[in-house]
Symmetry: C2
Subunit: 347 residues, 2 copies
C-alpha cells in the first residue's frame, strides 16, 4: 500500500509500505478515506522532536472497516468509523474510567499498525478504539468532514475546556489560534461560556475564532502585552484558562492571565517548558490549578458526534486545505508555512 | 515590647521593638499568648531565602485581644483569638470566595503589624482575620495547644488533602513527615481516607503519622526507592497525593507516585522546583492534576475548630518542644537540627 513516511526534518515521502494485517481476534483493518495533518506533526517535521526516519506518520484516521477479528462486536466490514489519535483496549482500568490515553496496552498508530496518513491502518483493539459513524451519515461527505476533527483536535479542545472547568456563564480565555485553540473556542461555547477571549497571532484565524463563538480576540504579538490586555478585559484574570499550544511561552501567558483560585486546562504537548521552568511559584501563590494533559478524545467522541449530527457543532472550518495522499508532503509544507490551519487528507 | 527579630542566617535575637498600635477602625491589637516556629521559617534561617535583617518573625499568633477599632464587630477586648499566617480583609472577592490568601489588601505579619513571635501583634482587619475561641475554652490550656496548629500547619495539611481530592474510602499518599505532612495525615483521615501511606525520612515522625492515622509508612532514604515502594503498595500509584514539603525532590516523588488521572495537592512553598524543572511531561502524559498552593487556612478554621472542640481532632502532638520568648532562638536551633518537629512558643 501507499503511505506517508517520515524521511527527516522537512521531508515526508509517499512510499510503498507493507499493508497491515489483522492478526488479533480483537483487531480491525480500516481503509482510510479521510485523515488529517496535525499541528503536533510539525514538531518532528521541524526537527524539534526526534523521530526515526522510515516511520509511518499520521494519527487521525477515518475510513471503512475492511476486516475484523472474530471477537469484534461493535463494528463490521463496510462500517464507516473514525479512530482517536490514541489506540485503546477499552477494557483496562484507565479505559473504563475514560482515560483512554493511559490504556495499559500502550499501542499507537505507526509501526505495524500503519500511520493514519496512508491507505490502511489496523488497530489491535477495534471495540476499544473505533467509533462507528451511524449508517445514515456514513457517506455524507460534509458530515464526515465535520466528524473528522473528533479524532483529535476537537476532542483535544474539549479536553482543554473540561480541564479548565468551563461551565455555563463562565469567562474563558483560550490561548492559541491553531486548530486546537479554535476547537477549544467551540468547546467553551458548547459548554455555555458567556465570554470567550481568544488569544492568538493571526487575524485570519482569530476571525474563525469569532465565527466559533469568541466574544473578544487579543492579537498582540508580544506575549506580555497580550497577557496585559487579557487582564484588562477580565479585570485581573480569568478563572478558566485553556492553554492550547504547548510552548513554554504560551504556558507563561496562561499563568499570567489566570485569576487567583482559577484553573488552567492545558492540552498542548509541552515543549520547552522543562527547560524554561514552569512558573510554579505563581501557581502556588495564587492557588491556580493545572489540569489536563493528553486528551482522552475517545471518551468524548460519542457526545461530540451527537452534537455534530444534531447540527449544533461544526469544527470543519479548521480545514483550510484538502489534499490526496500524494499531496501530503505539500500539506506539511502548507502547515509549516502557516498557509493552512489544518490540512484534510483524502487518501 | 520584646520580640524575636531576624539578624541573619542562623541568628534570631530577642529585642526591644516598637509595640504595634491600632490605627484603623477595623483593626485589633492582640497580646500573644501562644505562637509557634514554622518549618517555613527555616528557609530564611538557613539562608536559603532572602530576608531583611531587623525584621520581626513569626506568623502563627494566638492571644488575647487588647484593643479594637470602632468598626470591629466580631471580637472585643478580652477575647481569646487565633490568627492565620495570612492577614485577610474578609471583604474582597477572594476573601469572600474563601481564598483568603489572595486578599487584595496584601497585608502580612511582620513590619508594623509585628511578627507572631513577639509580645504583641496587630491586624488592620480584625473581622476578616481573627478567629475567636469560644469563651468556654478560652483558658483551657490543653485545648489552646490543640487549636494553635489551626493558624497554619493543620489548615495547610487540610488544604493538601482537599486539593488532592481526598474523600471517603480513598487511598492517599502523604509526602513529608514534617508538621504539615503529619497534619496532612490527620486531615486525610478526617476526610475518610481508607489507606494513608506516609512517606518520610524519620522513624520517630512516622510513628506520629501512624498515631495520626497512617495505615502504612515508607521510610526509604532514597527518593526513587521510596517512590518505587509506594507504587508497589498502590499497585501502580495513588489517585490522591499530598505533597507537604515544597522541595523539588518531594514534588518529583509526588509525580512519580501519582496514578494516571490522579491529583497532586501541594502546599509546601516550592523551593528549587523552578531550577530543577517540574516534570510537566509526566503530568501531561498521565493527566495528573496539580492543585493547591498557599493554604487559605482562615477558610478552614471554623470547621477544624469544631472538630478540635468536639474531641475528634488533635494535632498538638506535633509540638515536641515548648519555649518562652527568650527561648525562641533555641527553638529555631532545635528545629534546624531536627531535634523538634515543631516548637510551641509561649511569649
Amino acid at each position: 500500500m501507499r503511505a506517508a513516511v517520515y524521511r527527516g526534518p522537512g521531508d515526508i515521502a509517499i512510499e510503498d509500505v507493507e499493508k497491515p494485517t489483522v492478526e488479533s481476534p480483537t483487531g480491525a483493518l480500516i481503509r482510510v478515506t479521510h485523515t488529517a495533518i496535525c499541528g503536533s506533526d510539525l514538531w518532528f517535521y521541524r526537527g524539534k522532536t526526534e523521530k526515526e526516519p522510515g516511520e509511518g506518520v499520521g494519527h487521525e484516521p477515518m475510513g471503512i472497516v475492511e476486516a475484523v477479528g472474530n471477537e469484534v462486536t461493535s463494528v463490521r466490514p463496510g462500517d464507516r468509523v473514525l479512530a482517536p489519535f490514541a489506540i485503546s483496549c477499552g477494557e483496562c482500568e484507565f479505559c473504563r474510567k475514560g482515560l483512554y490515553t493511559s490504556c495499559v496496552e500502550d499501542e499507537s498508530w505507526g509501526g505495524e499498525n500503519g500511520g493514519g496518513q496512508g491507505e490502511y491502518v489496523k488497530t489491535p483493539f477495534a471495540d476499544g478504539t473505533l467509533v462507528k459513524v451511524p449508517d445514515r451519515y456514513a457517506d455524507d461527505q460534509a458530515t464526515l468532514e465535520k466528524l473528522l476533527p473528533l479524532t483529535d483536535v476537537m476532542g483535544t479542545g474539549h479536553h482543554a475546556a473540561v480541564s479548565a472547568g468551563v461551565g455555563a456563564g463562565d469567562t474563558a480565555v483560550v490561548i492559541g489560534d491553531g486548530a486546537v485553540g479554535l476547537c477549544g473556542v467551540l468547546a467553551a461555547q458548547r459548554l455555555g461560556a458567556e465570554r470567550i477571549i481568544a488569544v492568538g497571532h493571526h487575524e485570519d484565524r482569530l476571525e474563525i475564532a469569532e465565527q466559533f463563538g469568541a466574544t473578544e480576540t487579543v492579537a498582540e504579538r508580544d506575549d506580555a502585552a497580550a497577557a496585559e490586555r487579557v487582564r484588562e478585559l477580565t479585570y485581573g484574570g480569568a478563572n478558566h484558562v485553556m492553554e492550547c499550544v504547548g510552548a513554554a511561552s504560551a504556558m507563561d501567558v496562561a499563568i499570567d492571565v489566570a485569576r487567583p483560585g482559577g484553573r488552567i486546562g492545558y492540552v498542548g504537548v509541552p515543549h520547552g517548558v522543562e527547560a524554561a521552568g514552569l512558573d510554579v511559584l505563581s501557581l502556588f501563590r495564587d492557588n491556580i490549578t493545572l489540569a489536563g494533559g493528553v486528551a482522552p478524545v475517545r471518551d468524548y467522541a460519542e457526545d461530540l458526534m451527537a452534537d455534530v449530527l444534531g447540527g449544533t457543532l461544526d469544527p470543519s472550518p479548521i480545514f483550510t486545505k484538502t489534499v490526496d495522499l500524494a499531496g501530503v508532503p505539500e500539506g506539511y509544507e502548507a502547515m509549516d508555512n502557516r498557509e493552512a490551519i489544518k490540512v484534510l487528507v483524502k487518501p
